[in-house]
């Protein structure tokens, strides 16, 4: 990576401005890249979200909106646009922010960063064209031997290469910042989390290239056969691990929002960094989550990999589950909200959409996405959940309630700080995280409920009306799918509110001049200065956080064993 940082004979003469809110030097080239990556991300969120709404309305039995071929097309587009393009474009913006901006540095080789951007954009557009042409309704996972049009795979490959270039620019920027001494000591925790995300991204994107390049060659007839089990093992090295980029990135965003809104600092740098390290070391092997009921893979392999080697990556998340709310509680108590166990939480800035979105994301990622993920990923329990609606129920709890909501929340800080525009429609913005959050909680829970009743995911007609053999799911399953539709509409509304607020603010919002920024500071004043010395947060008592963590742990243990009980009731098989 160092070689990239040092290409060219002289360092680029970067232009900077000084941020009136943070005092950080902002490289204008980095700022522009952050803006464009974020804008494109939001466009893909809007498009992918619309496809998601169409999917939800089709799976709502009473509505059953789209015909079959359009349904599968929309489902493929939904997966690719939100799961890949929205989150990864946004993550590239986060990487540039966490490197160049937080480290006070210039960005390495903006030209190459733009090359990465255009490659990603071209790839994303190409894949969308392929899907919309109708010959590539293979789902986001494109399991062989089902075949998409060659330019579907080519689009994904271009996108992956572009993302890899952007990650290289991120690493290059770290090297430059270190060389030029733009910061003292170690990188900030948020940057550390971004580094974890970037390291995982390298593994992820490489896995994608390793499997998609031969699949592309197969689609144009140069390779005769791709083994379907091998495909899944490697593909999920990208598919699941890319969700671990999301986790690292959105945890970093949680810490960033808590810091920027409340002046919160980590309880212990050591513990939080250790938790990110667990992600880097163990999150990658979770490809196994998708292979628990496949033929030809041994139980030993499945158990070791699905548990992230003794659940060491889950340990990382459980640590963040204490340290993030703990940091918030400590900051609030320091500001004087010390009454009882929960005054700090009651008096938190719930009217600030950045905080509200962040906290909802934290709670729902833990309770809905996290717990269900561990249960779903238990080798034998997977038998009663694999490919049912439980699976999308789980990952809407992680990627939508967790990642997407966290990214939405941080946008309410990015728009004033990086786009230097005031947020428009403040009331709408205040409500947005709640509407979206409640909607997503609903779809996650009702999809999981439907899955428990056996309803298949990726299925156009669960009444099987034109099947030669009849089968009926229980009536409750239809109720669950109907409620999923209702909450799908609610989350689409929340998504629309976000897009309206962000797009209007970015293009038409009042410019946030330096004078205005000084008059109405966005970040808590003297937040950093008020903290006399570092690392003393742990000495505060945190009864609220401990209570929340205890509730979470009890829920986790009960739900875990209830599912073993469910498993024990089905037909014996061995």
């Amino acid at each position: 990576m160092a070689s990239i940082a040092h290409t060219g004979t002289l360092p680029r003469a970067a232009e900077f401005r000084t941020c009136p809110d943070t005092g950080l030097r902002v490289d204008l080239a980095a700022e522009k890249l952050i803006r464009w990556n974020a804008v494109v991300a939001v466009v893909f969120l809007a498009v992918g979200g619309l496809f998601g709404l169409l999917v939800a309305l089709t799976r709502w039995p009473a509505v059953h909106l789209l015909p079959a071929e359009w349904f599968y097309l929309a489902l493929t587009a939904h997966g690719a646009d939100v799961l890949l393009f929205w989150v990864i474009f946004f993550e590239i913006a986060i990487l540039y922010f966490a490197s160049a901006i937080l480290l006070n540095s210039r960005l390495a080789t903006p030209r190459i960063a733009w090359l990465g951007f255009w490659l990603m954009l071209a790839g994303a557009l190409l894949a969308n064209v392929a899907v919309l042409q109708g010959e590539s309704s293979v789902m986001f996972t494109s399991y062989v031997p089902m075949q998409a049009a060659p330019h579907f795979y080519l689009g994904l490959i271009l996108f992956a290469v572009g993302a890899l270039v952007a990650v290289a620019v991120f690493f290059g920027t770290l090297v430059i910042a270190k060389d030029e001494g733009t910061y003292e000591g170690s990188v900030p925790l948020v940057t550390f989390g971004a580094i974890a995300a970037a390291i995982i991204a390298v593994f992820t994107i490489t896995s994608g290239a390793i499997i998609l390049i031969p699949t592309f060659l197969w689609s144009i007839g140069l390779i005769s056969h791709i083994d379907p089990v091998m495909y899944k093992v490697v593909w999920w090295g990208m598919g699941h691990s890319s969700q671990q980029i999301n986790v690292s990135a959105h945890v970093a965003v949680w810490y960033a929002i808590a810091a920027m809104v409340l002046g919160a600092k980590p309880l212990s740098e050591k513990v939080s960094r250790f938790a990110f390290l667990m992600y880097i070391l163990f999150l990658q092997i979770a490809a196994a989550h998708h292979l628990l009921v496949e033929p030809g893979i041994s139980s030993e392999w499945k158990i070791f990999n699905t548990s992230y080697a003794l659940y060491l990556a889950v340990l990382g998340s459980l640590i963040h589950g204490l340290s993030v709310p703990g940091a918030i509680e400590a900051a609030q108590r320091r500001r004087g909200y010390t009454k009882g166990v929960f005054e700090w939480l009651r008096k938190a800035p719930w009217g600030n959409p950045a905080f509200a979105g962040m906290f909802l994301s934290l709670v729902m990622f833990g309770f809905i996405g996290g717990i269900s993920g561990v249960v779903l990923g238990s080798e034998q329990i997977n038998l009663i959940m694999h490919n049912t609606m439980y699976v999308p129920g789980h990952f809407h709890g992680t990627v939508v309630a967790g990642t997407t909501l966290a990214f939405m929340a941080v946008t309410y800080l990015v728009v004033p700080l990086i786009f230097r525009r005031e947020i428009m429609f403040k009331k709408l913005a205040q409500w947005q995280p709640y509407v979206f959050g409640i909607g997503v909680a609903g779809i996650s829970l009702f999809m999981m409920g439907a899955g428990t009743l056996g309803v298949s995911r990726r299925h156009w007609d669960i009444t099987f009306s034109d099947a030669p053999v009849a089968f009926d799911y229980p009536g409750t399953a239809f109720l669950m799918m109907g409620l999923n539709g209702v909450f799908g509409v609610l989350s689409a509304l929340g998504g629309l509110m976000y897009v309206v607020v962000v797009v209007s603010s970015v293009f038409f919002g009042e410019r946030r001049t330096e004078e205005k920024a000084k008059a109405e500071p966005l970040l808590p004043q003297g937040g950093a200065a008020a903290v006399a010395s570092y690392g003393s947060e742990g000495t505060l008592k945190l009864p609220g956080t401990i209570t929340l963590v205890a509730i979470f742990f009890v829920a986790f243990v009960l739900y875990y064993f209830v599912n073993w009980k469910f498993l024990s009731e089905v037909w014996p098989l061995s």
Binding site: L292, D461, V469, G535
Partner: protein, 181 residues
């Protein structure tokens, strides 16, 4: 703050707070419990997916399935006249997946063991036995062999729950479970 470098340069020597180290310990032990629950279930639980699998040509699998159908068909069912096959308890039974059907229909005796062979003729499919909710991935070129013990007399649906193209939603098969003779 988390967006600034640590104030103490040597942050890795900070002492751990009691609440944090307690939680880390509990979480680590919980991880071990969950890990060993899966191992434990292999010894005591009755629901463990078989590790017995073979590479197989789709034609070979189809031939074996047809041989079973020829030998043990007891009647036909449905509009398309799907064979209903009743192989003897303890025997090898086959169900093949293809676009877009599960073939044939099986009739099994309650409480008896069967060696069920699953494979696909074309794309990937998902064997989803309902309302039991047992779900197994079916691949072309791979034959999974598992021992299954039906419980509860009645009709069970076999839904395909791996997306397999435009007719995916029509792909439903059936297993009848009848009282043992």
């Amino acid at each position: 703050m988390a967006i600034h470098p640590p104030e103490k340069r040597i942050w890795w020597n900070e002492p751990l707070e009691k609440s944090e180290i307690t939680w880390i310990t509990i979480a680590f032990i919980w991880g071990l419990v969950m890990f060993f629950t899966m191992v434990f279930w292999h010894f005591t639980g009755e629901q463990n997916l078989s590790n017995e699998a073979y590479r197989i040509h789709p034609e070979t699998f189809a031939e074996r399935t047809e041989a079973m159908v020829d030998q043990y068909t007891v009647r036909e069912e449905g509009e398309s006249g799907l064979p209903v096959v009743r192989p003897p308890p303890g025997s090898d039974v086959y169900m093949l997946a293809r676009l877009w059907e599960w073939w044939p229909i099986l009739e099994l005796e309650e409480g008896k063991d069967y060696r069920l062979h699953l494979s696909s003729m074309d794309w990937q499919h998902g064997f989803s036995l309902q309302p039991e909710n047992i779900n197994i991935q079916v691949h072309p070129g791979y034959e999974l062999v598992l021992t299954l013990t039906p419980e509860g007399v009645g009709e069970y649906g076999v839904v395909c729950n791996e997306y397999c193209g435009i007719g995916h939603h029509q792909m439903v098969g059936k297993i009848h479970v009848v009282a043992a003779e």
